[in-house]
């Protein structure tokens, strides 16, 4: 009885989640006449697959995609590497002021982004980084508080024996970190990687502020800019939006368990 009720509730919810995506997908395959037709048709007739090709023909979609991928990949590499390093220092090394650093990491986690918008813009402007991809990548190379907490927690859980054996063999701290601890932390690294990828891929505010030339646009900003360019061709913008989701969906499907695990560990941390 209770199970049936849960099934009904959960299925209804899942439909509410997915049906809008299907409707948007359908919109992206219509002709403009059908896109604005009242009452709407559910299944486009004919199915205009060409809308997707049209986006590629008429916009620098490939550039937006490349920019988004370059930024996301470099952000992931940077954040995973540096957060692991800092987490390792906090968990396994004798660092003066360790406790203070941990408290400050907690504080910066609570720091609202709104306070950083203007000063960061001015900082990157004085570095000559405006309208480059750097402001969207470099901050990830300075470790993120969430990443630090996740990695510190992981490294705390690794037994000391390995490290002691390696130290006796003359390994320096970097070798201990790189060859022994990092491979043991793979699940946490994967979790951090998918979270960083998602955050970077979804971002709208930062690329809007920092990027001005269309050839530097990321997918969200690029798709948004099509809105003004394709007035009277909304089905094309919808097609572009659907395409911008695709790489994210692939990552999500491949790494689903890491998404769930990451969210859960964020919850347990509080």
């Amino acid at each position: 009885m209770r199970k049936t009720l849960s099934y009904v509730l959960v299925t209804a919810g899942a439909l509410v989640m997915l049906v809008p995506f299907v409707a948007a997908l359908s919109n992206s395959l219509k002709s403009f006449a059908q896109y604005i037709q009242v009452p709407p048709t559910w299944i486009p007739d004919p199915v205009q697959w060409d809308n997707y090709a049209e986006v590629w023909r008429r916009t620098p979609f490939g550039l937006y995609l490349t920019n988004s991928i370059v930024i996301a990949v470099l952000a992931v590499v940077g954040n995973v590497l540096t957060s692991a390093m800092v987490g390792h220092a906090l968990a396994r090394m004798r660092l003066p002021g360790k406790q203070a650093l941990l408290t400050m990491a907690l504080g910066t986690m609570m720091l609202p982004t709104v306070i950083t918008i203007v000063p960061n813009f001015l900082l990157f402007r004085s570095l000559g980084w405006l309208d480059t991809l750097a402001p969207l990548i470099v901050p990830y190379w300075l470790a993120t508080p969430i990443g630090i907490f996740l990695m510190r927690q992981t490294f705390l859980g690794i037994p000391k024996d390995f490290e002691e054996a390696a130290s006796l063999d003359g390994a320096n701290p970097w070798q201990v970190f790189w060859r022994i601890h990092l491979p043991l932390a793979k699940p946490a690294l994967a979790t951090l990687a998918v979270f960083t990828f998602t955050t970077s891929w979804k971002a709208v505010l930062e690329p809007t502020i920092y990027l001005t030339s269309p050839e530097n646009y990321t997918l969200p900003v690029g798709v948004l800019s099509l809105k003004g360019q394709f007035v009277g061709n909304d089905q094309l913008v919808t097609a572009a939006a659907m395409m911008s989701l695709l790489p994210m969906l692939v990552v999500f499907v491949l790494a689903q368990r890491y998404f769930v695990r990451g969210t859960m560990s964020a919850g347990l941390k509080g």
Partner: protein, 310 residues
């Protein structure tokens, strides 16, 4: 977050090694490992905090040098009708969004917290909007809330109800935005609640059943206190986020119609990056910052009354 610090402290205490003989340069190594974050603290935490405080007391248009104006920006803000309206809009949005999302996420988590066939698939369905950018969501939402061609009016029509203008109706725009935000965010919060539910020991329920407690009483006296910590976290996280909500309105309505959905951070963005009044934008940022801080502190104080840590 007190728990976090406490746990972190405990973990650090356990961690403190019995000081075996170590590499002589270990401190330098540790410092090198921590250096990315030290730079982060300087460039991405201390600098923005101090700089925005400084700029909030200046007139700065990015071209000429910043000019000190004392509290001028703040007095201007108090007389700025748009600022007050955006603050009201933000509060209205938060009041609709935060409780709805929290309650729905909890309900779904309870429904999913049993051995259901295909549970992973359901969880995935709820997560798809979470990983989508607001730009994608804007077009998905258009398929639903477009007044002429959207699903929502089709459904209303099916039940014989009159069509609505949703995002184009000044009275409906914020409730519609809140509904879309719940739709997008509920999956993430649901997983947080699932983690909280799974941390409640099964024996408590067994014992209560033996004592003849009803399903409602088990929910009221075991589940609710058991997940109060998670609920607290969810409430703090979402209210911090909601006060800073920007991307959704920027992409979906641009504050319209007639400023009915202009939220405070959108106002800040326009002042700073469209009118290049960096000083005024920084002042707005500081007021919001203080509001976020105050709200968080109030929540931390109130938590003593209702949050139980097992």
């Amino acid at each position: 977050m007190t728990v976090l610090t406490r746990r972190a402290g405990k973990a650090a205490a356990e961690q403190r090694p019995p000081a075996p003989k170590r590499h002589s340069g270990e401190r330098i190594w540790a410092f090198a490992f921590a250096s990315p974050y030290l730079l982060h603290l300087v460039a991405l935490a201390a600098w923005p905090l101090l700089a925005s405080l400084f700029f909030s007391m200046t007139d700065y248009d990015l071209v000429s040098e910043p000019r000190f104006v004392g509290f001028g920006n703040f007095t201007r803000m108090f007389g700025d009708d748009v600022f007050w309206r955006t603050l009201g809009n933000t509060a209205y949005f938060a009041v609709l969004f935060v409780p709805t999302q929290t309650a729905l996420a909890l309900g779904l988590a309870i429904a999913l917290n049993q051995r259901l066939r295909g549970m992973a698939l359901f969880r995935a369905a709820y997560f798809v909007p979470v990983v989508s950018s607001w730009v994608v969501v804007a077009y998905v939402a258009d398929a639903v809330f477009n007044p002429q061609t959207g699903l929502a009016n089709q459904v209303l029509d099916f039940f014989g109800l009159p069509a609505e203008n949703w995002l184009q109706d000044p009275a409906l725009v914020i409730p519609t935005l809140a509904a879309v935000a719940v739709w997008k965010g509920v999956g993430y919060m649901m997983v947080l609640f699932l983690a909280g539910l799974q941390a409640i020991p099964e024996e408590r329920y067994e014992a209560a059943k033996i004592d003849g407690a009803s399903a409602w009483n088990r929910f009221r006296y075991i589940t609710l206190p058991g997940i109060s910590g998670t609920t607290f976290l969810v409430l703090v996280l979402t209210s911090i986020e909601t006060l800073q909500s920007f991307e959704q309105v920027f992409v979906m309505t641009d504050g319209g119609p007639h400023g009915a959905s202009e939220l405070t951070v959108l106002h800040l963005y326009r002042q700073g990056f469209q009118f290049f009044q960096m000083g005024y934008a920084s002042a707005i940022a500081w007021v919001l910052f203080v509001l976020v801080l105050a709200l968080t502190l109030v929540q931390f104080r109130l938590q003593r009354r209702w949050v139980h840590y097992a």
